[in-house]
């Protein structure tokens, strides 16, 4: 014991931190390996400061040499690795020791762990070439180890640290590091599959780090494709893919014949072959990689879709071919007869190759695979290849259409999306369209909406096709009325893309008759609107069409143009003025009148600063009203108008609260005035949070103004509190806090301050030295006057501003049937909502459930519940679990969406330069700036529920 303490004191002198000493003492005390292990484990739980890392490492090493038990050594080795990861610690000082330890180590596991440590050290010192070379050399030496774990680690180390730079590699005179590729390549034939995998991975690692792999590896990699182990095959497929991208044009011989083909084609064939591998992991890998091989020759590519059918040795046509033939012969969709698929010509038995080395039918197999992961990968690959090759796109269409009937919804969805992506290259045949349209009846909303999107950008070849599409869409509409908007939008694009095909259909669609007047259709019928949307959009580029319209059609046009302006385009109608405001070319788009109006009204507000308070109030009220109306009329400007209106409202509240008359009244009336002012302050605060977080496109300049407004509100709050509370004690704290806030405001927005001449904060900062020294009551007085005298800040508008909105589609809140469930158990409520212009919905959107007893429940939806159907749009489909104790009668609960915010994450804090932030922020308590809260931003929906008492 005595001796141990001596040792520890000695160590204390060497490395000053006490931590290492404590560890040392602990380790010395340890009587058995288990004890030592326990100490080490405890030690691991605590972080080690950068300065003491080296000392700790020395002590660990010392024990390492003394230790007989392999498990303790293993732990020490792993600790060394952990420690050298410590940020700010440079591990070159311990490298030599670590390498030394390797030499005498007998246990394979410890060796592997030590190599792992070296890898950590090496990755921290990537810049240091000699160190890396040395490590690689060490690794090469241990490659002959008999344990797979050690060899694994060695290869990994070589892969991560091996020299990549060409010139430098030659310099290294030591033969070990000379040709890393060869060393790794030698282990492709290792007896252990794990080592083989590690070798391939190391090779891939080298490639990722920028080393150009030799082409000679290709043949080695090809052999590995037939390996017994799936990890090896999977890695080999990757390696082959890499090589095919590196040397696409090289020529490789085909074995067993004299022919030669391009390497990329050969690799493509080989990877295609792997699509029918025994292991699905490999199949997924292969199918995925196929998509990114775009240099493949087209005839190879087309083979992937060709599976030569035969029946009793006679050539048979595929159903796809038959469908095509039927279509081209003019007959459409005949009933199937028995023997319709009777095989035709005889096949030369010698010519049939059942297992082609080529790409034959790879996608046919991939799309038919048992595992949906493989099928999805295959669809994705098809998509990528089709995007780069129009002819291939045309060919793969049949297969994609077939995938619309897959049993897994994800696969169906994926194939619909794929089709949409390649729709520029293709025109749908009628029979294909028929199959596509059949999916419109799918009960999944996602599928239907994806399909509508697809139809938006599809090319249809005939007028029958258009008709068919319309009929099916209308059928869809009757079956699922909620799809209305989506269907209208779809028809809008369908119409504008195919005006000439719609033209001959118009009389039929409008059911006009040359001689008789037909009854006027119901204007509110969604189906009729759908037809009109199609026709009007077609008419836009087809001037002869309006001649076919009957009178009521024109009336309906005028109505729809007004009510559904985003769906109905302006038309040039004969004998009428254009209904919408004429868009003459002289007006530059951004100067369109409504925008002008917006700016003018704002100018007016900003210019008239020195009016009497009454006038200001009135003007503000008018402007706010104008803006709100504008937002309703012009949906593009809604965000902008709302934003400014909110700002003006804040200003209005502030002005009202500060009216001198109120503040001068006698004490008994304080109460009323206080209530008003504090309510105003509170509302302003809320509104500023809304402004900051609910709009997308808010820039730094706006954030300053918003924060400034918030500061004013806080000042107001302070004043109100000062006037109502007796005693000075609580005020001290509040004043200090407020001044801190002013301070941080100044720090955050220092660059913006010059723009804020004459504003509240500007004046406040001038008075700052006085404020800091004066008493709270004086501070309050100063604040009050500054607040009243300060000018009104001009709110600059950003280019684009959108308000985040949410709309709960489901539950609709109309049901009278209560949702019954046993109390104490849970019931799942499906919530379906659309979100627009919400940034990072996964992090911010919450669902709130309010029970009648005032109990509120906040639910964080899973990230997977959010879908992203388009830019700026999100869709939340989630399940909310409700539970409550038993009620006597059904009652309504409220469900709403909340937008969570955290002022720490605000745009302001991300904007300031790092250096200025770091030094100052550390001093501030973290909670000071981190105000978290939620903004309700959807209409609450009421759901009728009834928890029944549990039956006994």
């Amino acid at each position: 014991q005595q001796q141990h303490e001596d040792l520890s004191t000695k160590k204390l002198r060497l490395t000053k931190p006490s931590k290492s000493a404590a560890l040392h003492v602990d380790l010395c005390k340890a009587t058995s390996p288990a004890d030592a292990l326990q100490y080490l484990l405890q030690f691991t739980r605590k972080p080690v400061e950068v300065e003491s890392v080296e000392g700790v490492v020395r002590i660990l090493l010392e024990h390492y040499y003394k230790e007989n038990d392999a498990s303790v050594r293993l732990k020490i080795a792993s600790l060394l690795g952990l420690l050298s990861k410590t940020a700010g610690f440079s591990p070159d000082c311990i490298m030599d020791d670590a390498i030394n330890t390797l030499q005498n180590e007998k246990s394979h596991q410890v060796l592997a762990q030590l190599l792992d440590t070296l890898l950590v050290i090496g990755t921290k010192l990537t810049e240091n070439l000699p160190v890396r070379m040395r490590l690689v050399e060490v690794a090469c030496k241990h490659l002959t180890d008999s344990s797979h774990g050690v060899r694994n680690k060695c290869l990994q180390l070589i892969g991560c640290l091996g020299p990549v730079e060409k010139g430098l590699a030659k310099e290294g005179e030591n033969q070990a590091a000379k040709d890393v590729q060869k060393i790794i390549g030698d282990h492709f034939n290792d007896q252990d599959p794990r080592v083989r995998t590690a070798a391939i991975k190391a090779m891939l690692q080298l490639h990722e780090r920028g080393l150009k792999l030799h082409q000679a590896i290709y043949s080695q990699a090809c052999k590995l494709l037939a390996d017994d182990y799936e990890q090896v095959r999977s890695a080999a497929v990757q390696l082959i893919w890499v090589l095919s991208q590196l040397y696409p044009e090289s020529i490789v011989p085909i074995p067993s014949s004299n022919e030669e083909i391009r390497l990329v084609d050969d690799a493509f064939g080989k990877i295609c072959h792997m699509v029918s591998d025994g292991s699905w992991v490999v199949r997924v890998q292969a199918a995925k990689l196929l998509g990114s091989m775009q240099q493949v020759s087209s005839h190879f590519l087309e083979q992937t879709l060709d599976k030569k059918l035969m029946s009793d040795l006679r050539r048979k046509r595929t159903a796809h071919e038959r469908a095509k033939e039927l279509y081209s012969s003019g007959e459409f969709s005949s009933g199937r007869k028995w023997g319709d698929d009777a095989p035709k010509e005889e096949i030369d038995t010698g010519a049939v190759n059942l297992i082609e080395s080529g790409a034959c039918g790879a996608f046919v197999h991939g799309l038919e695979d048992e595992m949906y992961e493989v099928r999805i990968a295959a669809v994705e690959a098809l998509c990528m290849l089709a995007q780069s090759s129009p002819s291939f796109a045309e060919k793969c269409l049949d297969f994609l259409v077939d995938m619309f009937n897959d049993e897994i919804e994800e696969v169906r969805l994926q194939s619909i999306h794929t089709m949409r992506k390649i729709s520029n290259n293709i025109t749908l045949r009628e029979d294909q369209l028929d199959t596509v349209l059949a999916v419109l009846e799918d009960s999944s909303r996602d599928i239907r909406e994806a399909l509508h999107e697809l139809l938006c950008c599809t090319n249809v070849s005939t007028k029958e096709g258009i008709h068919l599409a319309l009929v099916e869409l209308l059928k869809n509409l009757t079956k699922y009325p909620t799809d209305r908007e989506s269907i209208w939008k779809c028809l809008k694009f369908l119409g504008s893309r195919h005006p000439t095909l719609v033209l001959p259909l118009v009389p039929e669609l409008l059911s006009t008759h040359p001689f008789f007047d037909t009854p006027e259709p119901d204007m509110d019928d969604p189906a009729y609107i759908a037809v009109l949307v199609l026709i009007f959009n077609a008419a836009k580029s087809c001037p002869t069409m309006p001649a076919l319209f009957s009178d009521h059609t024109f009336r309906h046009y005028a109505y729809l143009r007004d009510s559904l302006s985003h769906l109905v385009p302006p038309l040039r109608l004969p004998g009428r003025k254009l209904v919408s405001s004429p868009v003459s070319p002289t007006i530059i788009p951004h100067e369109d009148p409504s925008q002008q109006f917006l700016h003018q009204s704002l100018e007016r507000v900003y210019n008239l600063q020195h009016l009497d308070p009454q006038g200001i109030q009135e003007l503000l009220e008018f402007t706010i009203r104008d803006l709100q109306r504008l937002g309703e009329l012009q949906s593009e400007l809604a965000g902008m108008a709302d934003f400014t209106a909110t700002y003006l409202r804040c200003q209005l509240l502030l002005v009202k609260a500060l009216q001198e008359k109120l503040w001068n009244v006698a004490a008994p009336l304080y109460l009323k005035q206080n209530a008003l002012a504090s309510a105003a302050a509170k509302q302003i605060l809320e509104e500023t949070y809304k402004m900051e977080f609910m709009y997308s496109g808010v820039e730094g300049r706006q954030v300053v103004i918003i924060h400034h407004m918030r500061l004013q509100a806080k000042a107001l709050q302070l004043i109100v509190t000062a006037r109502t509370t007796r005693g000075v004690e609580p005020l001290f704290g509040m004043c200090e806090k407020f001044l801190q806030e002013v301070d941080s405001f100044q720090r955050c927005f220092i660059s913006e301050l010059p723009h804020m001449q004459g504003s509240f904060v500007d004046k406040l900062l001038d008075l700052m030295p006085r404020l800091v020294t004066s008493k709270p009551s004086e501070v309050v007085k100063i604040l009050q006057t500054t607040l009243r005298q300060s000018t009104f800040l001009h709110l600059p508008l950003p280019e684009q501003l959108h308000k985040a909105t949410a709309n709960i589609i489901e539950p609709t809140g109309e049901s009278d049937n209560p949702l019954r469930f046993t109390s104490g158990l849970v019931v799942a409520l499906d919530v379906d909502a659309t979100l627009e212009h919400v940034q990072d919905p996964q992090g911010t959107i919450k669902v709130q459930v309010l029970y009648p007893d005032g109990q509120a429940q906040l639910i964080h939806p899973k990230p997977a519940d959010f879908r992203n159907p388009g830019p700026g749009r999100h869709r939340l489909i989630t399940q909310v679990y409700l539970s409550h104790t038993a009620w006597t009668e059904p009652c309504q609960i409220e469900v709403r969406l909340l937008l969570a915010y955290n002022s720490n994450r605000s745009k302001a804090s991300t904007k300031i330069p790092k250096s200025a932030w770091n030094e100052s922020l550390e001093a501030l308590p973290p909670s000071e700036n981190g105000i978290e809260g939620t903004i309700p931003f959807s209409k609450p929906v009421k759901v009728y529920i009834m928890p029944k008492p549990a039956r006994r």
Binding site: T144, S146, N189, D190, Q191, D228, S276, G278, K307, K308, L309, M310, S311, D312, L313, K316, T318, A319, H320, G335, R336, K337, W338, G339, T349, V352, N353, L354, I355, G361, V364, L367, E368, D369, E370, M371, Y372, F399, D402, M403, N405, D406, E407, I408, T435, A438, E441, D442, S443, S444, K479
Partner: protein, 585 residues
């Protein structure tokens, strides 16, 4: 030949019978395999080590009660759990038709089926079952029907894989067959579709659904005649999911009886189905049909659209024919034949386009309803067979369960592409396949370590040379070090030395000659030592020089080495024979 599958395999002294099927086409003795073929005298129990049944189709298990109870066999019968569950239902049904309907006697009884089933041992997928000390079997998934399995039979290092019927493309309720790279000596595979490469299933499925959907929308009725098990379930799942997806309301009926029991088992054996059903069963068991209800005779007259699955599949009798009669007159209705129909049945007639049918009682039935043919087959096609062979990498392939002409083609292809020999024996024919068994030899760890330490890296792909003594003792093989062998056998070690004399013309003194030789050899990278007694050792080889007794100018070099150092010794001799370099000294 299709039907009556029964294969006898003798492997390393063990006899295994694979499948025990009946033939649908015969009603006499030919319907069952000829078991007297196995052994003329003596009981089957003594001869066969086990019986394996691949799946529950009657042409693979139909003769089982006859075989085990009437002919007599008492050893275990192996099959998978679903097969064990469903097999007796089918056997019972078969018995009922033969005995009760056709009035045959001398047939197995219900009790016999029960007794037979008691002998069955159920196995799990990928479970290795030790039949006895040497014989082990292992089941792999085969698709085809619920519970169908491929079996690997292994004795020592020899193995056979029997596929039974299998399907390499997944369908709506079952997955694809899969086997690991087990490299059997022989793969016995079915070859029903030896000359066919099939189109993708999706087109057929889509067509089928479209047809049904259109008819139902028109308000028509759809009749689908099916056999009770297998395809019927696939079609049910197909329609059920389609109804679910498309939100359809028209009722679907399934004629009751046999199928209900079978459906029950489909519900139980979820692990044997495909990925989709396995994944969704936590929420809902796909075989608990929401839209498919049991059929009642009276429903056929209900107005409105409906879909009915009815047995039997070829419209030759029973419920399906009754319904067909009722609905045939309306052109809105449709009948879909999901499989092949034998000549002479109503099914075959309407498929070949006959529109007027003569029913019993001279009635003429005019068929106005639409007739559709839709084939769904669950056998592997030529490509699938090749794929399985590629997966398993057998050394020999044997084709069964197919037509000879077609098999010929496939055989040729297999030989051409995999370079393995392929056989296609006719019924009753025996094929003998030579295997190349490897014999395991025990080696003592010490020796192994010592020997591996000598060479470079161990390399799996290359054979490695080792020194040791092979001892064959008490029916076991051991490789031991020579010393141990000597010790165990009680022998003394003898040393074998080679000596060789080399004459060198050298007039100098002996020790000078020795010195020259020493200098000459020193250049080589062996450890060369000059011993004080005037001799030289190179590693363990001794070289001595003496003057020739007659001619002093000639020195005789005596080179002596043990036989272990043969290589070095002969090298040195040849080196010395070339003479010493002319030294300048």
């Amino acid at each position: 030949d299709v039907g009556r599958s029964c294969i006898l395999v003798s492997i390393a002294g063990k006899n295994v019978m694979l499948d025990c099927g009946m033939h649908m086409g015969y009603n006499d003795d030919r319907r069952f395999p000829d078991f007297s073929y196995i052994t003329q005298n003596g009981r089957l129990t003594d001869f066969l080590d086990c019986v394996i049944i691949s799946h529950f189709h009657l042409d693979h298990c139909g003769a089982l009660p006859y075989f085990s109870e009437m002919v007599g066999y008492d050893r275990p019968i192996y099959m998978t759990h679903p097969t064990k569950a469903i097999c007796p239902i089918l056997l019972e049904d078969y018995r009922k038709i033969t005995v009760d309907k056709k009035g045959e006697t001398n047939f197995f009884t219900s009790q016999m089926i029960k007794d037979c089933m008691k002998k069955v041992v159920a196995v799990h997928l990928h479970q290795t079952v030790q039949v006895d000390e040497e014989l082990e079997i292992k089941a792999y998934y085969a698709g085809h029907v619920l519970g169908a399995a491929m079996f690997q039979i292994k004795v020592g290092c020899e193995s056979v894989v029997y596929t039974g019927d299998y399907n390499m493309t997944p369908d709506r309720h079952l997955g694809a067959a899969w086997i690991d790279k087990c490299r059997p000596d022989l793969l016995i595979t079915e070859s029903t579709y030896a000359t066919t490469i099939r189109d993708s299933k999706r087109c057929r499925e889509r067509d089928f659904l479209k047809k049904v959907h259109e008819t139902v929308e028109r308000g028509g009725k759809v009749l689908i005649p099916v056999f009770a098990l297998g395809r019927a379930q696939e079609l049910c799942i197909l329609l059920e999911t389609f109804w679910e997806r498309m939100n359809l309301k028209a009722p679907i009926y399934f004629s009751t009886g046999l199928t209900e029991k079978a459906n029950h088992y489909y519900k139980l054996f979820i692990t044997w189905t495909n990925q989709k059903i396995r994944k969704t069963f936590v929420q809902r068991n796909m075989f608990e049909f929401k839209h498919i209800k049991a059929f009642d005779r009276a429903f056929a007259d209900n107005p409105g659209p409906m879909v009915v699955f009815a047995t039997p599949g070829m419209l030759h009798a029973g419920q399906s024919l009754q319904i067909f009669r009722k609905w045939a007159g309306n052109e809105k209705n449709m009948v879909i034949m999901p499989g092949y129909c034998v000549q002479g049945t109503v099914g075959h007639k309407i498929l070949s386009g006959q529109r007027k049918l003569e029913m019993e009682g001279r009635q003429i039935l005019e068929v106005k309803m639409q007739v559709e043919y839709m084939s769904f087959s669950a056998h592997a096609d030529a490509k699938g067979i090749m794929q399985l062979i590629r997966q398993a990498e057998p050394r020999n392939v044997l084709l069964v369960h197919g037509e000879a002409k077609k098999m010929e083609f496939l055989k040729q292809k297999i030989e051409q592409e995999f370079h393995v020999s392929c056989y296609m024996p006719a019924n009753g024919e025996t094929t003998t396949i030579l295997t190349n068994p490897s014999i395991p030899v025990d080696i003592s760890l010490g020796l192994l370590k010592r020997e591996t330490a000598i060479g470079l890296l161990p390399d799996a792909k290359k054979p490695k040379l080792m020194h040791g003594t092979l001892m064959m003792k008490d029916n076991s093989f051991r490789l031991v070090s020579p010393e141990q062998a000597l010790k165990e056998l009680g022998l003394t070690e003898h040393q074998l030395r080679f000596t060789c004399r080399v004459h060198i013309q050298d007039p100098r003194k002996e020790h000078e000659t020795v010195l020259r030789v020493y200098n000459h050899l020193k250049g080589q990278d062996y450890s060369v030592q000059h011993l004080p007694d005037g001799s030289i050792t190179v590693e363990s080889i001794l070289i001595q020089a003496t003057a020739h007794s007659e001619d002093q100018g000639t020195k005789v070099l005596l080179v002596s080495w043990t036989y272990q150092d043969e290589e070095l010794g002969s090298y040195l001799t040849s080196l010395l024979k070339k003479g010493l370099p002319q030294s300048t000294a």
